[in-house]
């Protein structure tokens, strides 16, 4: 990228991509926003099931997971605000950033779809999340390590729940198998974004704060393939690499989600709730 283009991109509110992306600013702030936004957006999508799930136990479980993720997001964004040092708290970051300032993976912002789509998405993320958090608990950043330790307990439960559903649905009826395979085919390439590292990740690894994303790919695939085999599902042969979320380049879905999520604080500037 030429310098002029990089400046134009920054001026438009989009972080420049490439190996040094985000480093010029505050990589730790950037890093914490990525971690927090994944959880905020995924928690939002899960919360959409409350009252509409296939069985009452899942109304409860999915609201519970939504609560876990929003709780993790609140802790991470609070820390991000402190690290940034500009007086923004977790609510300022959640409610007063625009779409192109969100740093979540594209996977988590996709609409909730049917129950198979929700569970496959959840499982792909949860399997990644456990591996990531297992490394983050060893972070040299003590507060981050503490947040990761609490989140890891939750994530281990999440992955068991979503993994069991993927197996149940994959190895259930003809219809459930068809729906689950379709969800997997749709979502598989989005998982490639988990493992893409850029300058922010490099800086965080160098400081002993963050984790080496590409190194998670192999263990993730082993775990996921084992589950998918039990579920009698076929691992898609989809070479596409999805990217953009970490740099604020999102799908069309996030804008709608944020319009809904942010409406009250944006409509009543300065109000306390």
């Amino acid at each position: 990228m030429t310098e002029a283009r990089a400046q134009a991109a920054t001026a438009a509110g989009v972080a420049p991509s490439g190996p040094t992306a985000g480093v010029a600013g505050n990589p730790l702030f950037e890093y914490l926003c990525r971690l927090g936004d994944d959880r905020l957006v995924l928690g939002h999508r899960l919360s959409e099931w409350a009252g509409h799930a296939p069985i009452l136990e899942e109304d409860i479980a999915l609201s519970n997971f939504a609560l876990d993720f929003v709780g993790q997001a609140a802790a991470l964004l609070k820390l991000a605000g402190e690290v940034e040092g500009k007086g923004r708290d977790e609510d300022a970051l959640a409610y007063h950033r625009d779409e192109n300032e969100f740093r979540n993976l594209l996977l988590v912002e996709l609409p909730k779809g049917d129950f198979a789509f929700t569970m496959v998405r959840q499982y792909l993320f949860d399997a990644f999340d456990v591996l990531a958090l297992e490394r983050l608990v060893k972070s040299k950043h003590e507060v981050l390590a503490g947040i990761a330790a609490k989140a890891l307990k939750e994530a281990k439960y999440h992955v068991r729940h979503s993994g069991e559903w993927v197996v149940r649905l994959g190895d259930g009826t003809e219809e459930s198998h068809r729906r689950t395979q379709a969800a997997l085919d749709e979502l598989w390439s989005y998982a490639s974004e988990f493992f893409l590292a850029d300058g922010v990740d490099t800086a965080m690894v160098a400081q002993g704060i963050g984790l080496d994303l590409p190194s998670l790919k192999a263990p993730w695939e082993i775990t996921v393939r084992e589950t998918l085999t039990r579920a009698t599902l076929t691992v898609p042969n989809d070479p596409r690499v999805v990217r953009g979320g970490r740099l604020g380049r999102h799908s069309e879905h996030l804008g709608h989600m944020l319009a809904e999520m942010q409406i009250l604080p944006r409509s009543h500037p300065g109000a306390q709730w």
Binding site: H44, H52, P54, A73, E260
Partner: protein
């Protein structure tokens, strides 16, 4: 001939003597068929209300104005699902399963609390539901915690504890909004105006016209009358409204120093009857949402069953 009259008179006398002594009735004890039916009716209505009640509040989860409020609301809606599940399990002790009861809800045969047929139009409604609707539920459920049927009484003790948190968070939302911007104050007063009378109707018809009251009282399923509970709720709530500068939409409201009651104006029971009959503002939406969730989830429930059968068959093969 009433059902009660058809019961074995000796057993019935023993049953009523036990109640007289203040004993609780447990699942394996003998009970009149009418007692069992009344309990199934009340408990299933309660469970259905928890489940349908997830909808009006769920309407604001994605728009909660802060992360803390979002978490509290998620926890509350999750609690409600849990209460529903817990009470459905309670009805199983009376020989009626959840599937059968849900079928009755979806076909319109079973009722749920009419309060959930009103819309949640602004964020203030979430505060007011916690304060007034959960507040009214607590008054009713505190009484039910002393009901004569053991499993229901024990469920109520546990549920009341959580409902107290729900009420507190609701009143806190109202308190913050009542001290907030002019727009927020208007929003919360409007919500109180809309929810006040439906909250009073939650206690059910006046004792004179309540079809089930007398028998429920005699068998100590209910320990106090609808009107007495309603009065207690009003007496508790008016000072809370005054404390945060909100009013209730009742020009006849006045304090009677002699009885120490806040006397309130006449309730429009025609509205209550209309909502019960299915003509409230949201009856159709609520039932449509429940039916859609049930229909959309059919393939999931079927898959879970088929998978469990496959697993069992494999286990048998493995053992053989």
């Amino acid at each position: 001939m009433t059902v009660a009259a058809a019961e074995d008179p000796v057993k019935l006398a023993e049953f009523e003597a036990r109640l007289e002594r203040g004993e609780t009735i447990e699942p394996k004890d003998w009970m009149p068929e009418k007692y069992r039916k009344q309990l199934v009716r009340m408990m299933s209505q309660h469970a259905h209300s928890e489940v349908v009640g997830m909808l009006p509040e769920g309407n604001w989860i994605t728009r909660a104005p802060s992360l803390r409020r979002k978490m509290v609301l998620l926890a509350k809606v999750q609690d409600e699902g849990g209460h529903g599940l817990y009470i459905y399990c309670g009805t199983e002790t009376l020989g009626v399963g959840r599937e059968e009861l849900i079928e009755q809800l979806l076909t319109g045969k079973a009722k749920y609390s009419s309060i959930f047929n009103y819309p949640t139009l602004t964020w203030a409604d979430i505060g007011v539901i916690g304060w007034l609707v959960d507040g009214a539920a607590i008054v009713n459920q505190t009484m039910l915690a002393k009901t004569s049927y053991g499993p229901y009484a024990r469920a109520m003790i546990r549920i009341c504890k959580e409902e107290n948190f729900h009420k507190r968070q609701g009143y806190e939302i109202c308190t913050v909004m009542a001290k907030g911007t002019p727009a927020q104050r208007a929003m919360v007063q409007d919500a109180v105006n809309r929810w006040w009378w439906p909250s009073l109707m939650m206690f059910g018809p006046s004792d004179a016209t309540s079809p089930n009251s007398a028998e429920l009282m005699r068998w100590r399923v209910k320990r106090e009358t609808n009107d007495a509970l309603r009065q207690r709720f009003v007496n508790l709530t008016i000072p809370q409204a005054q404390a945060i500068g909100l009013s209730v939409p009742d020009p006849d409201l006045r304090y009677n120093a002699e009885t120490e009651n806040w006397e309130f104006g006449p309730i429009d029971w025609s509205e209550f009857q209309a909502v019960i009959a299915g003509n409230g503002p949201c009856n159709r939406e609520r039932m449509a949402a429940r039916r859609k969730a049930h229909a959309d989830g059919a393939w999931v429930r079927e898959a879970a069953e088929v998978h469990a059968e496959k697993q069992a068959a494999r286990a048998r093969e493995h053992a053989a």
